[in-house]
Symmetry: C2
Subunit: 343 residues, 2 copies
DNA sequence: GGTTAGCACTCTACGAACGAGAGTGCTAAC
DNA sequence: GTTAGCACTCTCGTTCGTAGAGTGCTAACC
């Protein structure tokens, strides 16, 4: 038995209907649809075939049919047309960002908020990978007697600043001079090139060896560690309004996952590099998300720095719309983060 | 009819039991308690009196009794003993903070997390009021061609930095010089004293008028506005595990409030100044929280700067424990934020 | 007079029984 | 190959009845 034209058409109609209503779809429903000229009985035969092929599930004998994960997979692989984002959507997105400043964190936060508002699902946005960013400036600002704030400006804007210890008691002016030296030495390097570079710098400036060690530490450890923290979740409670989560226990489980960034970050990270990934139901590793789909997308910052974002919804999510919104959002973030430093 | 000794005792037993179980308390339950030597019938008579006095409610004729808001009020006003925080609790709190750096935002975030972990309720922590902080240093760091990051260091640590526009194209060195001037002029002033001060500064340095205007703007507008944003909510989903919220609609309503900081902030703000406030059920303005209690506490930073934090739980929350944890946490935050700059 | 045992009464929670409605699967006719 | 017809199945909402918990009242007790 093969998936002929008509089966395709019927499957598609079922998926479309189920995405809208979340109610098992019956044969009558399909046969009433515009463009369908078969009786319920015929549809029933086809549905029976589709079930045998594994594209449909039956919650119980006399309910309608529900698309299986395999069906969604077919849907996104072959049946889905990704439309250009609608002008209204585009406007809403750009409006959201008009007030935003250029700090990485603010852009990320705004993106998560906007994504979840637009899709009514839950959005994840991770800050761009910092290994490949080029440093433009490093500056230390005195905060306490033995502490300083380190600010790193890269071609993608400011990365999260960190408080570091300053072993010696240095005056503000002195710190500034050191900052200038650091900037000179590190300018245009990526974070991953820094360690080698530091070896050289060390030789020239033995005097502040411990301070430099602190800076290096902060650059490498703190920032890499913070990366998994540097992820924003938006619209956590959106999913609660879908009937899939009318079961409180399920809802609680789900919310618990969203609160643990340690679990979420790998999900996004897995997708690294590829422009879009769609993981449907059990294709997600986490059992808590086995009834969810996750669509991730990559955004670029500058030449070779990328970041990841994603949208989590029920498996019957509106894949087409989410994809188009994500794609537009990707361009938006790229513009905001890449363009910021040259204006 | 008056509240005699015995009625007090019985009411207290009922409240204690209800706080533990969330199940309406019957007369038998009380009479079985250690220290009570009356039969269920006697207890019933007293309960009937207590109901008439408005301290108990009856969900329906043949259920047990439930404490009213008035009862909780009495409880916290007269019956509650606030114990010193237990050594285990104290240890857990301090442990939580060991890894924290001294930035205001991090301390705030950590406090919310810890409070909610410890109490299993939902925690709110607002950043300290900035009007009364004294400025220690202002520094501008060049970020883009026409943008700079403004960092303000106060006696309570760093306040949230802001990106501002630099109208003129200034070099890094020049910005540093200006920063030094700003620091000199503004040192030891509170944020609220700045506007006057700026008038004078303006006269001396006409040259950078527009830059200063930006700085002033950022200091006043952005930061005051951000204040309501500068609040962290922790343990949002904790309350979902209480039977009070087994109704999904209620839970959703509640979570929606927690997502809107505009609604939450005034709740905390109302308490300004007083060391502790306890608002029980309807005493909260928000109808969504009419079945919750909110305990707020004030923490001090330095001499006359204060901030507010709070814990939201069901009306039958464990008032004693929350109060003691809040009080310890207040001291903790004060230490972390006031001490940071002198080490 | 305060306290208590006894008992009828009330209300909820829970499960069984039942009918309506939606949908299927099969058969036979077109 | 398509469709009408029909018996069958399963869920959902309703109703009904019962068990259990708890009250309120009365009368007896100390």
């Amino acid at each position: 038995m093969r998936l002929d034209e008509r089966k395709f058409m019927i499957l598609r109609a079922i998926i479309d209907d189920y995405i809208m209503t979340a109610v098992p779809v019956g044969s009558r429903t399909i046969s009433r649809k515009a463009g369908v000229s078969f009786s319920p009985a015929t549809i029933r035969n086809e549905m029976s075939d589709l079930e045998e092929l594994g594209y449909l599930d039956q919650p119980h004998t006399s309910a309608g049919r529900v698309p299986s994960a395999k069906a969604y997979r077919l849907y996104v692989d072959h049946l889905l047309k990704v439309n250009e984002v609608s002008p209204e959507d585009a406007k809403r997105i750009t409006d959201h960002f008009n007030a935003r400043a250029g700090q990485v964190e603010e852009v990320i936060r705004g993106a998560a908020q906007t994504l979840s508002d637009m899709t009514r699902y839950t959005a994840l946005v991770a800050a761009p990978q910092m290994y490949t960013m080029r440093i433009e400036r490093v500056q230390l600002v005195k905060v306490g007697a033995q502490t300083a704030l380190m600010i790193v400006v890269t071609n993608a804007g400011i990365i999260k600043d960190a408080v570091i210890r300053v072993p010696e008691a240095l005056e503000s002016d002195h710190l500034y001079t050191i900052s200038q030296m650091l900037t000179e030495q590190l300018h245009d390097l990526t974070l991953s090139q820094i360690r080698q570079r530091f070896a050289e710098v060390f030789r020239d400036m033995r005097e502040h060896r411990r301070l430099f060690a602190s800076v290096l530490d902060a650059l490498e450890n703190r920032m890499e560690k913070a990366e998994s923290q540097n992820m924003v979740v938006g619209g956590t409670t959106n999913l609660l309004s879908y009937p899939e989560y009318s079961d409180l226990a399920k809802a609680r489980n789900f919310l618990a996952v969203l609160e643990s960034k340690e679990k979420l970050y790998p999900l996004l990270k897995q997708a690294g590099g590829v422009e879009f990934t769609i993981r449907i139901g059990p294709e997600n590793r986490l059992p808590e998300l086995s009834e969810c789909s996750l669509i991730t997308a990559t955004y670029r910052v500058g030449e070779n720095t990328t970041g990841t974002m994603g949208v989590i919804g029920p498996t019957r999510m509106n894949y087409g719309r989410v994809l188009s919104v994500l794609s537009f959002m990707g361009r938006m973030i790229s513009d905001l983060l890449s363009g910021e430093n040259s204006d």
